[in-house]
């Protein structure tokens, strides 16, 4: 992978790379991509792409809430949050 493209991809993934990392990763990522490029050899002419393997269409649900099981899911989930203010989840400013 070209270094410029690597740096751009890293930026999109919010990853900070120093120069050494760019050097090594450029080689490693290229090797990974090469592995995947083996798939390009398969002849897929006329085949519809497989986007999922659930083998099922129209798996929908009714517009109904869960039957009240008495547990308190949202509170349990909030308990796992590292920093809170009231019921808000607090993170460092992102603007």
């Amino acid at each position: 992978m070209d270094k410029g493209e690597l740096v751009k991809t890293a930026a999109l993934a919010k990853l900070k790379l120093d120069e050494n990392e760019v050097e090594t990763l450029a080689i490693e990522v290229s090797a990974m991509l090469e592995n995947f490029s083996m798939m390009m050899e398969a002849d897929v002419e006329g085949l519809e792409p497989t986007t999922q393997t659930l083998q099922q269409e129209n798996r929908t649900r009714r517009d109904e809430g869960p039957i009240d099981s008495g547990d308190n899911l949202s509170n349990d989930l909030l308990e796992r949050v590292p920093e809170k203010e009231g019921r808000f989840i607090v993170i460092p400013n992102v603007i």
Binding site: T51, T60, R61, E64, S74
Partner: protein, 476 residues
Amino acid sequence: MKYQSFVGLEIHIQLISETKVFCSCPNNFGDEPNTNICPVCLGYPGALPSLNEEAVFKALKVCKALNCHINEKAVFDRKNYFYPDMPKNYQITQFESPFGVDGYFNLELDDGSFKKIRIHDVHLEEDAGKMIHDGYQSRLDYNRAGTPLLEIVTEPDLVAGRDAELFVQQFRQMVRYLEVTDGNMEEGSLRCDANTSINLPGMGLGTKTEVKNLNSSRFVNKALTYEIKRHGKILDKGGEIIQETRLWDEKTSTSKSMRTKEDSHDYRYFPEPDLPPYRVTAEMMGKVESAMVELPNDRKKRYIKDQNLSVEQAAFITGERETADWFDSLLKLGAESNQSASWLSGDIQKVLNREEVTLEESPFTAERIKELFDLINTKKISNNIGKDLLQAMFKEDKDPSLLVKEKGLEQVSDTGAVEKVVDEVLAAHPAVVDAVRAGEDKQVGFLMGQLMKATGGKVNPQMAREIIMNKIKGSE
């Protein structure tokens, strides 16, 4: 204007539903922060989404109303981006094969003519959470994350800010008729981003900019008018437009650069592996078709053409579906359209405004109003008494004929009785009588007023006027 301008809109509407689009958390506005959350909408590993049928139904209703081609197989895609308002780091949306494509909307312009605005596509996606920022931290509320959102993308067929304003207004009216969203722009249930570009005539589209943060149709107009002008100034100087996203700032009435597109627009869409495609069934389409209603612009045309309403009256009545439905039921009972329209837009609306209630919440049923019209049209009561009666109907929640009896409001048409009161009034105001006799017919109004006061407005005004004139002029 030297340049040709092109405007396209991306409109997001929050769909009304009990639950979110891919999980069964409640879809409620205004709940305590982070009460409607679960592993699916918080993006916990292994949690799987499942599609809400109601959201599909409402999405298809909008596709149908916008004359879209409905894709046989609708597919969901992941739009990847890293921002804390979306805990999964991707948004489930539709990219390659959305529910609807290639539609159109007949936009009514200010001069009454119609313009076909092409719709690029209609796709279903999930909304993001809400963030509140201050100087050093951001607070997150994920109640809105995963609620159903429908995005409608137009082709750049609109020309100016005013067109876009009209589009937003008429589109909002339409989706409210369809009962798919409440369309409240201030609360964000209808949000609009606007794209614009300009170019020399015949040169096609120019480089576009996008303006966000437009929470009223008026701002859409102002922001686009501003952008078109800004582009023109740049091109006049031989400059180049930068393709970017800009934020509208209402306080300064200007737009500000937010970010350049190149850096942020690589969303790496790919098909969502956790959701199977949705093949639109005949059963679902049947349900959609039977739920379709006559849309506001069609209804307006019908009222003008078949019911002889003025453009203004038709616009007023079709403004809200509730009012139009009510009007139709009144016509069905045999009421005359012009009488119905003028009462509805006049006295009935006045009472509703003053009491701050909607037609639906008021005691004014179509049956009662038809009864009121019958009382007036058969001259049992005068038009003015009818207006008072409307107040009484509101306050006492009773049928008009009952109130007429209870309050003794029936018009006095007994000539002898009226003549007696007229004699009393004339005797009490000899100077006015002389003036009328001298040709000042305007003064009759004063005498009529006195007569109405003396009888509580119950005399048939036409008859009373004749008697007064006969008594004064006839005795010459």
